[in-house]
């Protein structure tokens, strides 16, 4: 390895939040023309490290050197001026503005009369095209596209400045395989032009595909900097979680199929349930103890179907049967009353209630079903919180922390605890493993299997075909806001089966 000059050197970075030392003397070096991955469990301090580099957080100790010069970063603007472009973990764009503007904000093309919108939009189109988004109208509002697409737009935005350093914090968590491929294509191009890329992902496959160098963090501590090629998976996992890889053996566990007995009644059965513009009238049964996977491409309508089954959107068509009895589910409240729960894919906007504590976030749904004036007795509440904090291994294990200060993965666990606390008969999980580290992912998958084994009906929505296929008893395939197939998941079914189903239906249509 020839020793190149690093463009960014972070040394001894320490950041303290009230009560937590999020980073403790962490080092990081970024080299031009390299993709560098920051590795670690949820809450290891990856995003915090990134925010230190982009001036969002002030560092309590340590130094940052950019291009050989010691640098004081007092804000994102400073970072940008130093040539650091960033895509943060949570999409941070302005939904009230157009797509094109979000790409170009702060870099609009100017003419003699101020901003020249024609040029600006043309420029935006160019950058969107680079991300394979040439079909988007830059004048359309950002709110008209899905979170996943917004993520791509955010990446397009990062490419606008001539960056020396490009930071991508979990850009792939909501993308499907095609988009990931497209993204990697671009990343390679950018890397080859001499830019240093910092990349975060919980998908080991992706790490090994795209990165050159790794920095591993654990619990806010710097563990090691290694070259990707020289580090076997087992060793990497070991460094990240501090346990041997064997302990994660359950990862491969496949669900023992639950056979539906003839004449058995489904817990939930929807008939021609639909909503104009969101999802065509759909039939779907879910049996007790069954895991039904929803598969489909981005924007195929999986989320919409899930939301409809939860009453988050009001259906304008169809019927809803619960244990054979017709019910009217028209709001999350009635759904929860009927023991149907839904964990959202949009954790930040529809999931966590940021300024409440972990404890309150866990209990709030149960409380809502009981009613405002029947508070959960303290003892019962303590038991519930205690149980799920342990069972789901929430870290830090302090239920009185504000949930907004938890790492993404731990927030997800708290949300799952929230829904388990109401003891649902049907639990709809929309992208429950998105952005979650391999350890936690295994834990959540394990939990899903356990719940099903205990007799809960589960709808499992995920962009990762791999886990859908592995965990589901039946797979519902959606495309263009329509259910196109219902596949019984026996041994003959693989990811390829699903992909084929989607592709073929396209040809027929």
């Amino acid at each position: 390895m020839t020793e190149k000059q690093p463009i960014v050197v972070m040394k001894g970075i320490t950041i303290e939040f009230p009560g937590v030392k999020a980073l403790d003397g962490v080092n990081l070096r970024l080299f031009p023309g390299e993709v560098h991955a920051l590795m670690g469990e949820n809450g290891a301090g990856k995003s915090t490290m990134i925010k230190a580099l982009t001036g969002v957080y002030k560092i309590d100790a340590g130094s940052i050197t950019v291009d050989g010069k010691p640098t004081q970063l007092n804000g994102t603007l400073d970072a940008q001026n130093a040539g650091i472009a960033t895509v943060y973990q949570e999409v941070n764009l302005c939904t009230n503005l157009s797509i094109g503007e979000n790409v170009m904000l702060g870099h609009e093309k100017r003419g003699p009369l101020g901003i020249d919108w024609k040029k600006t939009h043309a420029e935006a189109r160019k950058h969107l095209a680079k991300m394979g988004l040439e079909y988007l109208d830059p004048r359309a509002p950002l709110s008209s596209i899905s979170i996943a697409m917004q993520q791509l737009v955010a990446i397009a935005r990062a490419m606008v400045i001539d960056a020396k350093v490009l930071i991508l914090d979990e850009p792939t968590s909501s993308l499907d395989a095609n988009e990931v491929e497209d993204l990697f294509e671009i990343m390679r191009k950018v890397r080859d032009s001499g830019v240093a890329i910092l990349f975060v992902s919980h998908f080991l496959d992706q790490i090994y595909e795209i990165t050159d160098r790794l920095t591993i963090l654990r619990n806010g501590q710097f563990i090691k900097e290694v070259m990707t090629k020289e580090t076997p998976r087992d060793e990497l996992i070991g460094m990240m979680i501090g346990k041997s890889a064997d302990e994660l053996s359950q990862i491969g566990a496949k669900k023992a199929r639950r056979e539906i007995k003839p004449g058995e009644k489904p817990v939930v059965s929807i008939k021609k349930l639909g909503r104009k513009g969101q999802i065509e009238p759909t039939d779907q049964d879910v049996y007790a103890g069954e895991v039904v996977g929803f598969a489909g491409l981005l924007g195929s309508g999986r989320t919409e179907l899930g939301r409809l089954m939860f009453g988050a959107d009001k259906p304008d068509n169809g019927e809803y049967y619960l244990n054979g009895k017709k019910v009217n589910i028209d709001s999350p409240y009635t759904a929860l009353k009927n023991k149907i729960a839904y964990s959202t894919e949009n954790r930040r906007d529809e999931g966590i209630i940021g300024d409440l504590t972990v404890r309150q976030n866990m209990l709030i749904a149960l409380q809502a079903t009981r009613g405002m004036f029947k508070p959960i007795p303290k003892k019962e509440a303590d038991e519930i919180v205690d149980k799920y904090m342990k069972e789901l291994n929430v870290r830090p294990p302090d239920p009185n922390k504000l949930i907004k200060n938890l790492s993404g993965g731990n927030q997800q666990k708290v949300l799952i605890a929230r829904w388990l606390a109401v003891h649902p008969e049907l639990l709809i999980l929309d992208e429950p493993t998105r952005g979650i580290d391999i350890g936690a992912k295994a834990e959540i998958q394990q939990k899903v299997l356990e719940l099903a084994a205990q007799g809960m009906g589960v709808v499992f929505i995920s962009s990762e075909l791999e886990e859908v296929v592995r965990l589901s008893d039946a797979i519902t395939v959606l495309k263009d806001h329509q259910k196109i197939a219902n596949i019984v998941n026996d041994d003959t079914v693989s990811q390829a089966t699903i992909v084929e189903t989607i592709a073929n239906s396209g040809k027929e249509a």
Binding site: K58, P332, L356
Partner: protein, 357 residues
């Protein structure tokens, strides 16, 4: 090592106290009282007034005035916690006052007058609530409209007169409510305090407080947990209307006369200031009723200070602004993080030196 730990802990407590909004409110209150005592040496003196059957003295009149601020600030706290605002409380005070006075003059029983006035406040609050929750109108503009229209309603009720019920017999209970004493303490202050405590108990002992905060923090996420945000929104505006009508009764019963233009005028601003001084953010979320109550007393105290210092009436608003700005600035994170910030800077310098070396 252990010693430094202990020091850290001590520092932690000090920081906690310094970082707490209530601390600065208490400091401000005490400072105002001290200033008043310096100017008027008998400011803290309490005497027994046989004429009224209660304590008398500057502090007592201050508490008497604070009762109405306590009421509207409490309602306002709940509304602001849902990320809303209620600009109509001043007008609701006028409407409730006008209702009760007009009824008394019209010969109604005093209890009927009180109940109807409360009901009217509740109704106006409920209309606000309906507009905000069902129609989804913006709270600021909805209650701004109600602030305009409410004054008009008060004028319609009294046909533009300042109805005076001071000569009407049988108004005693109402008069007592505003001017009487319980164990020597102003009755209206005691009543207001009891109501604040009840609201506080209901909010914190049931899940109401948490749900209100939840809606204020993230309405959509709250809906997804099965909370009905519309119900919560409706509830807080209705409560605010009801409490404002109690404040209106305090204000009018104190002189048994409603002033259609002046009763409750500008009091929405005082209520909002009280809430903010008390540490509840206008952006919604976590609320502190104790803080707002303290804020309400501070507002009354500022006004008392103005009288005690004999500040020229022309300069009153400027003095008010100065005090508010000082309190808010002292509460700013920048100020109470000052020492921590300096420490951080020092540490950073040291570590940079270390790196350079």
């Amino acid at each position: 090592m252990a010693a430094s730990d202990k020091k850290d802990e001590k520092n932690g407590i000090v920081n906690k106290i310094l970082g707490n909004n209530l601390t600065w409110s208490v400091v401000a209150l005490i400072a105002l009282i001290i200033i008043c005592t310096i100017v008027d040496h008998s400011f803290l003196k309490l005497t027994w007034n046989t004429n009224t059957g209660g304590l008398a003295g500057p502090l007592i009149t201050m508490l008497q005035e604070s009762a109405r601020y306590l009421m509207i600030a409490t309602g306002m706290t709940l509304v602001i916690s849902t990320a809303g605002i209620d600009l109509s409380v001043g007008s609701v005070m006028a409407v409730a006052g006008a209702t009760s006075m007009q009824l008394l003059v019209g010969g109604a029983n005093v209890w009927v007058a009180i109940l109807v006035a409360l009901l009217v406040g509740l109704i106006i609050g409920s209309i606000n609530g309906l507009l905000v929750s069902v129609l989804g109108l913006q709270p600021f503009i909805t209650t701004l409209i109600m602030m305009l229209a409410g004054r008009g309603v008060a004028k319609v009720i009294t046909s533009g007169e300042n109805t005076d019920a001071s000569q009407i017999a049988g108004g005693e209970p109402l008069r007592w409510m505003a001017n009487g004493f319980i164990l020597g303490i102003p009755a209206n202050f005691v009543i207001a305090l009891v109501i604040v405590l009840i609201v506080g108990a209901v909010a914190r002992k049931t899940a109401m407080g948490m749900m209100i905060e939840s809606v204020g923090i993230n309405q959509e996420a709250s809906r997804m947990t099965g909370i009905k945000p519309r119900k919560i929104l409706f509830l807080v505006y209705a409560i605010s209307g009801l409490l404002a009508s109690i404040a209106g009764l305090f204000a009018t019963a104190s002189v048994m006369r409603v002033d259609v233009v002046k009763t409750g005028q500008d009091l929405e601003m005082y209520a909002i200031l009280a809430v903010v001084i008390g540490g509840t953010s206008l952006l919604g979320g976590k609320f502190s009723l104790a803080g707002s109550a303290l804020g309400a007393v501070i507002i009354a105290m500022i006004r008392k200070t103005i009288i005690t210092l004999g500040i020229d009436s022309a300069a009153t608003p400027a003095f008010f602004a100065a005090v508010v700005i000082i309190i808010c600035v002292m509460q700013a994170p920048k100020i109470h993080n000052l020492s921590a910030e300096m420490k951080r800077k020092r540490a950073l310098k040291a570590s940079q030196k270390a790196v350079a070396a």
